[in-house]
Symmetry: C4
Amino acid sequence: MAGTKLIDDVFPWPEGKRTAVCFSFDVDAESLLHLGFRDEADNKVVTRSEMRYDAHVAVPRLLAIFRNHDIRQTFFVPGWCLEAYPEMVKAILDDGHEIAHHGYVHEMGNKLTPENERYWFERGTKAVEKATGRKPAGFRAPSYGFSRHTLELMIEHGMIYDASMMGHDVPYILKHPRGEIVELPSQRALDDWTHFVLSRDYNWLISMQTPENGFAIYRAEFDAAWRHGGVWIAVWHPFVTGRLSRAEAMDALIDHMKSQGGVWFAPMDEIARHATAARKDGRWKPYIDPMPYNAGVLPELAERM
Amino acid sequence: MAGTKLIDDVFPWPEGKRTAVCFSFDVDAESLLHLGFRDEADNKVVTRSEMRYDAHVAVPRLLAIFRNHDIRQTFFVPGWCLEAYPEMVKAILDDGHEIAHHGYVHEMGNKLTPENERYWFERGTKAVEKATGRKPAGFRAPSYGFSRHTLELMIEHGMIYDASMMGHDVPYILKHPRGEIVELPSQRALDDWTHFVLSRDYNWLISMQTPENGFAIYRAEFDAAWRHGGVWIAVWHPFVTGRLSRAEAMDALIDHMKSQGGVWFAPMDEIARHATAARKDGRWKPYIDPMPYNAGVLPELAERM
Amino acid sequence: MAGTKLIDDVFPWPEGKRTAVCFSFDVDAESLLHLGFRDEADNKVVTRSEMRYDAHVAVPRLLAIFRNHDIRQTFFVPGWCLEAYPEMVKAILDDGHEIAHHGYVHEMGNKLTPENERYWFERGTKAVEKATGRKPAGFRAPSYGFSRHTLELMIEHGMIYDASMMGHDVPYILKHPRGEIVELPSQRALDDWTHFVLSRDYNWLISMQTPENGFAIYRAEFDAAWRHGGVWIAVWHPFVTGRLSRAEAMDALIDHMKSQGGVWFAPMDEIARHATAARKDGRWKPYIDPMPYNAGVLPELAERM
Amino acid sequence: MAGTKLIDDVFPWPEGKRTAVCFSFDVDAESLLHLGFRDEADNKVVTRSEMRYDAHVAVPRLLAIFRNHDIRQTFFVPGWCLEAYPEMVKAILDDGHEIAHHGYVHEMGNKLTPENERYWFERGTKAVEKATGRKPAGFRAPSYGFSRHTLELMIEHGMIYDASMMGHDVPYILKHPRGEIVELPSQRALDDWTHFVLSRDYNWLISMQTPENGFAIYRAEFDAAWRHGGVWIAVWHPFVTGRLSRAEAMDALIDHMKSQGGVWFAPMDEIARHATAARKDGRWKPYIDPMPYNAGVLPELAERM
């Protein structure tokens, strides 16, 4: 009979809560264009207008929704965007949201040399520090380009959480010989590029969902997380989910979540701090993923294939 | 609670109206084939028949729908198509619709040298003038290929609006050192290639929506625009939306829009003229996007990546 | 108000009928593999099993459905398949269905030299003649690869209809200096590859529809054709639509069509003969598409692009 | 009238049963990454975390569902994964499920030389034997890469069934000059990559279904199999179907199947043994597919194309 218990690694949510929700937004604006089309970013004017919508239209709209629902959340913003859009940054901070690390120009660490990965990672760190007055507490790898060196960089810079992985449905630990941090995982089904983006520029040709169907996917994952004690973390983008019809659907989804009760809406740094404390006092026995994974070609393959 | 106000940059719609709707159609016919397959356009006979449907079947059908609903709208037609299909042009004009600029053979300006972009842009302008008796009031960049030079060309030729961008949900201003024009924006979700085209010739392999689901996307954006005061501009193509089942769905969508009340159905030149007047007399404080955007590689990237 | 009349070029359906329906199936079996993977067709065993399902499982199932509904339809079968599956051919013919021309190994005429196109076209013609005892009355270009020479070949071989084009919603005429034939058109939305095929071998990666949604598209087009007097011609494939869940949906769709009344289920040669007679006695004033289309690069493009 | 009988080749299901169901899972974990990105598998950390979810989160969850419903099923596990995840293997075996052959590192046999195919096939065989204490009874070709030599290898190693083909809706026989085995077929619509995977790493860019729509496809095929006596075999993957919302949908699908009655839930080796016995005592007259298929280029093609 349906109703099988689906999560064993129970996470100690705060008193009265059974799940945490974070509508985390990656505010990439034109960084994707600058990175992907170095010499043409100024000549792809339509796509650029679509990306600038992030800063000028969508973020203010999302802030209004969060204010209306009285919740604070997390924005991952590449350093270049922090510098290019200071008014947007101010509006985010004024409302009490977290700004976290998302690279400098949305570069993928695992496509760079270790030296360059470090260079850009630190440039992004400094940009967050300059914009917000403090070092970023967490990081999401742009385009999921987390390299075998990224975790060490994060630990070295005192970060307490990562928001890039897909290894569990509850928070867990990324463990490195030099330290550990909390992983606040998501998955492809909670990324809005999966459902609502179509772009020839980015070779992203997939069918677009109706707001109803796309949000049915989000809601199904939320309902299951709520029933089983998982964490629900959106990987959304203002220019995608901030469009009128989807912003309305998001507004309604928050209503649905609240009506269920027991949902902890919080910025990711707060969730990570809660997890860190629970780990210290022994209330949390997390799943631990040791890194880096083995390096190089599998010996079995090297032999023969 | 849902119901967050989603648009701040209120546009001064005419008395009694809360949104404007324009079913603008890009009548590309075979121009896409001639451009993309110079030497094979005569040998891709099936696709050609599909594109010729634009002129012979779909446009007359759309005109019938517009007549039935007593509305006038805008057709963007490449110059070559104007010359190839004079009877179609006559039928469009006889019904009082606007014909606007859509290149000469659907060329993308941002893939041409500035000299060639100018050449073809002006050839398209002249074709509209010859076909309609007046210079085009507006332009939509074929395949969204608006270049860093296009705006200046438009201003130089006295145009008053562009219909290519995706930078807002209400009309706004594209500002250039040499002048400005009104932007009447749309977005990917309102382009019918996003939902209903599948074509190996154009490397456009995506799943096709049911008429019900595709139109649910259009309707969701319309309903939100209606509630919040946005503009709703379709980027449709006769050979796509003019197919029987979708033409019926469009017929029904117009009914729905009318039943809501307060919808201004108008050709884009009328909307642009209204906006221009409102800007002059100070009723409209638009969002302004300055162009051209910065040129060349970001200095930050040039240094290190 | 919805209800706009959508078809002007009325076709003189037989007494009491308002639309014609043909579930035409392209029985490609392994021909696609042999053509596309000359040296590997015997090494792609799984895909081959999927294609052999055409002949061994799906065609007998479709014949059972047609028998149950007492209708006769058209099968387009490449010559190689006719030779490889004589029992399947016998079963199709025993039930009174039409077998028509679909190339020899599913070759696309517009990718061959004119000499080779002729060679394979005639080899396919002979295969049909040998298998059925008469020359094929009609042709559907494999993979829509109709070339600028194909029409002339068809006329030369005495064919009376083509079933490859997408130029109208009612039958029309393809006119060539050497003669003319009836076009019985279809469109992408009525091709089952559009909705139900996913194949890495054929670089055909699109999302698969539920039977309900895929058939909602077919039904929407049928309902519109029924209301407006169009023709409804499926471009289906046994290994796709012959799967259990879709075969059930097809069974139910036929029920729906019959329940509407006034539907003429007929093989395409009968529809073409009816059209030819109506054209001769003046009852039918068809839309006429003159071919071949202009050859070579547009002079306008040759000048400057 | 709908209700046509769709399967002629009736299979002798056990007393009281009308269909067999096997939720067979391919537990690929990181093998796909090691194979596809030899030198980068340690640097694609996010995708790796997504794949490790297979072993750490999803398989335990699926086992819980199967325990709750008291059914035993089949897991196809590459040899490398068996060696890398011994605890997962123990948990699968402790619950009485079958572990079958799925290559060593998910290699596609038809992309290897015959010598290398044999080498890896035998390495996979030994890994199963070592992990489970007995030789594998069946095989599913990774990525459907069954070669023209695979069947002979299976027969040589005493296997009794294959689970790679798509040639029928009921069990059938793959016949080779050196012997034969039972085929337990599936199809693309029952593979969860078809509906729920989106991955840039694997060039798998398709739209993701809602759990409701994806499972509607599975259910439609099940309902049809139940009505007509087919076999229903899922080709699922823990990291895909083991996500919370889909695991709930699977839980509910099993309820639906049970509520219909007459469903035989069984590991594939039991189904194959039943089939073998029925063939021996003459109760089963199967469809027989002779292999290998013809080798090399079709002579017709070699001549002229």
